[in-house]
């Protein structure tokens, strides 16, 4: 399955590049907005459908209870610490590096917000780091799932409530749906706050 995903990612990127640089054959926004959002909504619906039909799924959630929030909390701590360590290694602003990785993969938020708080060059880094996080999760999912059951959710960060959700459910199980969605949801809520809180440390 991963080869179809990689092929469609690369094929899409090449076509998108050609389309925007050599005469707009189709309005790019049609593909990157309507097709994207349409397929995303459909997928999330289907994931819910499969989950709802699974007789054991509700029991699994009840068993996990509030423990399910342990995952996003660990992801947030890990991301921020990872960013700070990266800042130390690279000898760049540690606080800004931590803020950059507190986007948890939500690049459309982290780019502009970090840019506003730390300056344009950090905004660019914020955009690219979080974009690469989503890409890395998609590309390495078959490897991640071997490390730990929740590793794909950990890697995906805030993206596990949308883009990476269908891939995670396909690779793990429909039981992972709620862990992934709730973790992505919590981290999406947390991202703007943690970035702003980290910014006050500087």
């Amino acid at each position: 399955m991963i080869k179809y995903i990689l092929a469609s990612l690369i094929f899409g990127a090449v076509l998108g590049y050609l389309n925007s640089n050599w005469g707009n054959v189709t309005a790019g926004v049609w593909v990157s907005d309507y097709v994207f959002n349409g397929s995303l909504m459909l997928l999330v619906f289907v994931m819910g459908l499969v989950f709802g039909m699974d007789k054991e799924s509700m029991g699994k959630i009840r068993q996990a209870g509030f423990k399910i929030l342990v995952v996003p909390f660990a992801v947030a701590c890990g991301s921020i610490l990872g960013g700070a360590v990266g800042g130390l290694i690279l000898r760049i602003d540690v606080v800004a590096a931590a803020a950059v990785s507190a986007g948890y993969g939500w690049y459309t938020l982290a780019g502009p917000l970090v840019g506003q708080l730390f300056g344009t060059e950090w905004g660019t880094l914020g955009f690219v780091v979080n974009f690469l996080r989503e890409l890395l999760t998609i590309v390495s999912i078959s490897l991640l799932v071997k490390i730990d059951k929740h590793a794909p959710v950990a890697a995906g960060g805030a993206t596990t409530m949308d883009t990476t959700l269908p891939i995670i459910v396909q690779y793990c199980s429909s039981g992972e749906l709620i862990t992934a969605f709730s973790s992505g949801f919590t981290l999406s809520l947390a991202a703007p706050f943690t970035i702003m809180i980290i910014a006050t440390l500087r």
């Binding site: 399955m1 469609s8 990612l9 899409g12 990127a13 090449v14 076509l15 998108g16 590049y17 925007s20 640089n21 790019g28 593909v31 990157s32 097709v35 397929s39 995303l40 909504m41 459909l42 997928l43 619906f45 289907v46 819910g48 459908l49 499969v50 989950f51 709802g52 039909m53 068993q63 996990a64 423990k67 342990v70 995952v71 660990a74 992801v75 890990g78 991301s79 990872g82 960013g83 360590v85 990266g86 290694i89 690279l90 990785s101 880094l125 690219v128 780091v129 690469l132 996080r133 999760t137 998609i138 490390i147 929740h150 590793a151 950990a154 960060g157 409530m161 949308d162 269908p166 396909q170």
Partner: protein
């Protein structure tokens, strides 16, 4: 975010109501839509000249930070899972 949550809840409810009906295999459909989703994701990446232009500029720093952020997240979740007894 609100519309995604609505789609998920609608899906779960429909699944719950259809629980005892004949099961359909949705794997092939899902796979097809995933390919479409990833294709359009790739398309918007490829069309984003600003993003492509800034990649070489911040590339190395970005790669180091993202690998550490993801690595620490995975380790923390694995450790937290053991401590909290997540199954």
């Amino acid at each position: 975010m609100a519309s995604l949550t609505a789609a998920l809840v609608a899906g779960i409810l429909s699944g719950y109501l259809l629980r005892n009906k004949r099961h359909v295999n949705l794997n092939k459909v899902t796979m097809g839509v995933i390919v479409m989703l990833i294709f359009s994701l790739g398309f918007s990446i490829g069309s984003n000249n600003k993003l492509l232009g800034s990649l070489p500029q911040v590339g190395l720093n970005a790669i180091v930070i993202v690998l550490l952020a993801v690595g620490f997240s995975v380790v923390f979740v694995k450790a937290a899972g053991k401590v909290a007894g997540l199954k």
